[in-house]
Amino acid sequence: MKPEVLKAMRLFILFSLFFLFLTNAFSQTVITGKVTEEKGEPLPGANAYLQGTYDGASSGENGVFKFKTAKSGTQVLKVEFMGYEPFIQNLDLKGDTIRFNIKLKEAFNQLNAVTITAGTFEASDKKQAVTITPIDMVTTAGAAGDVYGALQSLPGTTVNGESGRLFVKGGDSEESQTYIDGSLVSVPYNSSAPNQATRGRFNPFMFKGTIFSTGGYSAEYGQALSSVLLLNTNDMPAEDQLDLSILMVGLEIAGTKLWKNGAVTGTLSYNNLQPYMSLAPQNYDWAKAPESVNGAVSVRQKTSKTGMFKFYSSFDKGGFKLCQQNLDAGGTPIDYQLTNGNQFLNASWNDKLGGKWAVSNAASFTNNADDILFDQTSVAKQIQGAHLKSVFSYPFSEKFILKMGGELFSKKFSQNVKMPNETHNNSFINHTFSGFTEAQIYASTKFVTRIGGRVEYSDYLNRFTLSPRFSAAYKITDKSQFSAAYGWFYQNPVDDYLLYTDLLKPERADHYTFSFQSSVNSRTIRAELYYKDYKDLVKLTGGEFYLPTSYNNSGSGYAKGLDVFWRDKKTIKNGDYWVSYSYLDTKRDYRNFPEEAIPTFASKHNLSVVYKHWFGNLRSMAGANFRYSSPRVYNNPNSPVFNGEKMLAYRSLDLSWSFLYRQHIILYAAATNVLNFKNEFGQRYSNTPDVNGRYPGAAIQPGSNQFYVVGCFITLTRKGNANQLDKIE
């Protein structure tokens, strides 16, 4: 470049001689000043210049700038520095020296402003301060590619090995809701047999971002007493590709095709645990191992420069036949057979409207059917759920954003029970209408408050509810902040009760959350104190289950605790670990509880330690995850004390290894509970006593003590250099 530049400069000098001759005719003005931030600290590197001219200078280390100009008359001085509001002043140039002391005000920018973190774990790679990232969601050992499994390594959750679902801050699993691209997923888990762990229906690789809120969430979300999980699907893929996954338990093939401003992805998978179960020891007898077929289509289309339309549709068909002991018939084996069919549709459209309005619309539809057959009884359950949602937001200024919207949740639940001598058909239809509004107000980059409210009306229960929500965050230093949240949360009673009664009110929980978070140098600490006050929980009066009057809202309870999270990506080279600890104290009096008692799903101490290490020379990522949950309680009908028995503590050390074999081929292996800790989830008992007046019981064991998986992921693209590394580093 240099010879050309010199040549060019010679030319310029020629031209500028003429120019200089002109300008020298005038006298020169010196402009000098000191640029500081609000507290008086000098800002080096600030840009001071006369607008529309070539006269200017940068400030030095002491914040001082100085330049000469041959311009005269009125000129505009502009002083700019990244992250600050520019300083603009008109000057009258007369050939003397003009001095300035300039204080720049920090620019308001929502990206670097304080965010409300009380109760919220956000997984996104856009911000530096996040505690977990989307990749963590899929690379946590032991999660085996299950979204909910990965979330159980975060504080506030309790592992329930016999369920696999999310239990958040002393809440039951039904108290958590899952949303995809803004709309509700009515049936987020696969169907499973009683006391058998389930998994989420969705492939975690579909999602680019996750917000897991364990309490105190925005007025935008209702119908959840404990937590909401917001999953956002990937935007436009980069290129056409074909992905092939081969695991011991199944196969998946996915193809992506791009067009102008749009793309389609089709996925087909088949899973069958039979070959695996015949190799690895199982604690249960399976007459037919779980088997499922899944197909999905997803379409993304840019509708304008700012608009995006997403559509996702999936169908699932699966089933199994499990052999269990019938404790009511002297332990004779009976088969429990389940067939599940699930169709799910989800669409969303986000865009900016005229002016500053932004809109996001979402809709989902679920049709889920379970057909269960055991001991000459057949049960057919069907859920048809729809959710429509529109949210409008308007920024009056960067510091004041108003959001409002409306929602409709529609649900039809029907159950058909056939026994040799009788048949029961029950069903209900409920529509919940809701509206919400919320204002987010920044007093400065350091202080933000969010105030909102939500109304809901259920036509089946004929009840209105009003939920105020309030949260705030204050930045103490650049790297640390306090955050608090308060709100009332309502949720309709569970389907199994609504099937028989419409005399109930929605259940209620009030959340109080206070949290502290500090991130310095890729190390993050977070501590959160919370209190939850449960009201209007459903109680059974002891009457016949099919009578509407056998249910009321006299239940109540509380949960309080401390959640601690520590993450460190810095100390160990190529290593990254986090530690989650939760202390939980909860009791409730609900359902069939005779008195206030600790519920079965709650454990006092929960610990999760996750470690990941990248071995560059082996092109491998290794992961380990240790989990501990202190003993939970369970009820023994033979004992006079309700929920008086304690099960074993839960312990598991899970390992995983991924190896980048070729540019487009990844080999993967994982094992759970490698130290073979004994895990048991209490006992189940017969419904009726035996001849001696005792209720016989049997231990609830996990499906198997350990689980192994070996797989291979292949990605084919035109260029041939993409891989599924983001899947399982």
Binding site: G45, Q51, L111, W614, N721
Partner: protein, 212 residues
């Protein structure tokens, strides 16, 4: 002969435009001359400031935006702190967006966009690797589609291919012949004017040296 006429035409065009905006060409030439002596974040910030000033004065020129963004991308490579890296790249992104609106069919603009995306990737390769290598590859693809002879696009592509080869166990040296050919033909590419982008030969030399 054709070549001579062509280069004559280029010189003529640039002379005419220079004659129209002597102050602009002078300021650009002087500021570009300081690239060689800039060494640290503060130097490049001061240099970026000058390009920002020129961009503000010349609202229809894309080159001041180009060099302004380039300064901030280089700053992000020199910075250690991840949050600061991203904040420099935020500045670069703004200029790149304005530039691409101004010249949506300029090969060099997409090369710089690709370079910027590599900057984003480097902040956190573990998390951003997949997404940003794809985006950067797309930008380079556009740059080459607009001008298949652009040596900077070719150079970045070789650099990226070598980088990912290291990662996946391929032999990075398999790209050496392409790098050598690129360097040998580097000077055949003539920038449209003395102030048009003309960087990258040093890096190409570096790649070839690494091959030996």
């Amino acid at each position: 002969m054709k070549k001579i006429i062509l280069s004559f035409a280029v010189v003529l065009v640039s002379l005419v435009s220079m004659a129209q905006k002597p102050e602009y060409y002078q300021a650009m030439g002087e500021t570009l001359g300081q690239f060689g002596t800039s060494k640290d974040v503060a130097d490049f910030q001061a240099l970026g400031n000058k390009f920002q000033m020129i961009a503000a004065a010349e609202k229809s020129e894309w080159l001041p935006l180009y060099y302004h963004a380039q300064c901030y991308i280089l700053m992000s490579f020199m910075e250690q702190d991840a949050a600061k890296k991203d904040s420099y790249l935020d500045v670069a992104e703004k200029s790149i967006t304005s530039m691409l609106e101004m010249v949506p069919a300029e090969s060099e603009a997409f090369v710089l966009q690709a370079f910027y995306l590599v900057g984003r990737l480097v902040v956190n390769p573990m998390e951003r690797g997949q997404e940003y290598s794809g985006l950067s590859g797309q930008a380079l693809g556009k740059a080459l589609a607009l001008d298949v002879s652009n040596p900077r696009a070719k150079m970045l592509k070789i650099q990226m291919d070598m980088g990912s080869a290291q990662f996946t166990g391929q032999d990075p040296k398999s790209f050496c012949p392409a790098a050598k050919e690129l360097l040998a033909n580097w000077d055949n590419f003539k920038p449209k004017s003395p102030i048009h982008p003309n960087w990258g030969k040093d890096q190409a030399e570096g790649i070839v040296k690494g091959c030996e």
